[in-house]
Symmetry: C2
Subunit: 201 residues, 2 copies
């Protein structure tokens, strides 16, 4: 992967990544070819290989972009996770956002991670792991603040609790999107909230 | 979809479905062509179109087979879910089975459902919904028995609790497979167990 030195180059590279993001989400990495990406981006092979060696080179870029967008969408609530009420509000927002879109799609981060773990494409599984860790890190920050403020028990593990929230969110959302019913997401997040509440002081 | 009338025909059809199951798991539905399935099954186009109209015709067959295998693997424990201890034993087994295989793969049912919801391939999303409902139905049976025995509160909803378990299992397993760490699966199942315990009498 190489970085463009001109603004025009940056625009082309950016278009290649955003086109790949859409295609990976709709068809999977395996179902997308470099030619598909070029066609959607309106770019040529020469432009692609100036910045990337292969389709697989696009995967970490696409994942980073999906996480950035997720963080941007949740910024206000993610910055307010230093109390149990903050976590409750965040969970309410997750349910409201997803059902408001009629569960139109599963989380693109988990969807891509799911494909990577399934086929373990050229050892890309670690990209899924890093993505979940990065999502969790925003929750860990809030939980650590709760612990320092004496609101979370000293023997609780903020990073571990954070990952449990991500797992319950992703599983609940998958089943909610498949069924078009908000209850699986609501209930799996409530289970995570109850686990957290049991460790508050 | 047509049913073969001879044992040879049944064997060919069966081989087509099992080949498609392996390929869908490794590459996704979008990343698999009818030719790929024929090559793996050692079958010809004429044989395929005798039983199926399209690749999409294989999807419900593959899903049904993945669920049958899941139920077969868990039969002993799924038949013993009529108490909180039975649920605890089942969750322990889920963690032990998955980590014993070094989290080699995500659940093929959820993997396929994830692809179907993401692309909503020709309206195949409902196949994912039905699959999760069928997994949940085995848990619902145990929870209803608990309720009739007075061990689960009368106002608890067995079917809803069952779907929550499936959601927590699938999300926890996805993150555990990605990270190679059993704690996300353990913790999301523990959250589900605590929700269940809170509704027992």
């Amino acid at each position: 992967m190489r970085t463009p030195t001109t603004s025009r180059g940056r625009a082309v590279r950016d278009r290649l990544v955003s086109s790949a993001a859409e295609l990976f989400h709709a068809r999977g990495v395996h179902g997308t070819s470099v030619d598909d990406v070029l066609e959607r981006a309106g770019a040529g092979k020469g432009q692609f290989y100036r910045y990337f060696d292969s389709k697989e080179d696009l995967v970490p870029e696409v994942m980073a972009r999906q996480i950035d967008q997720w963080v941007d969408r949740h910024a206000a609530l993610l910055g307010n996770l230093s109390s149990l009420d903050g976590f409750r509000a965040w969970c309410d927002a997750l349910v409201a956002n997803s059902s408001g879109r009629n569960f139109a799609r599963w989380c693109p981060i988990a969807g891509l991670a799911g494909e990577l773990v399934q086929a373990d494409r050229r050892g890309l599984r670690h990209i899924g792991a890093a993505a979940f860790q990065r999502m969790a890190s925003y929750l860990t920050a809030g939980l650590s603040a709760m612990q320092q403020a004496g609101e979370l028990r000293a023997d609780a593990d903020p990073a571990r609790l954070a990952v449990m929230f991500v797992a319950c969110f992703e599983g609940g959302l998958l089943v909610s999107v498949a069924t078009g019913d908000e209850r699986p997401l609501r209930d799996s997040l409530d289970a995570a909230l109850a686990s957290l509440a049991a460790q508050t002081v």
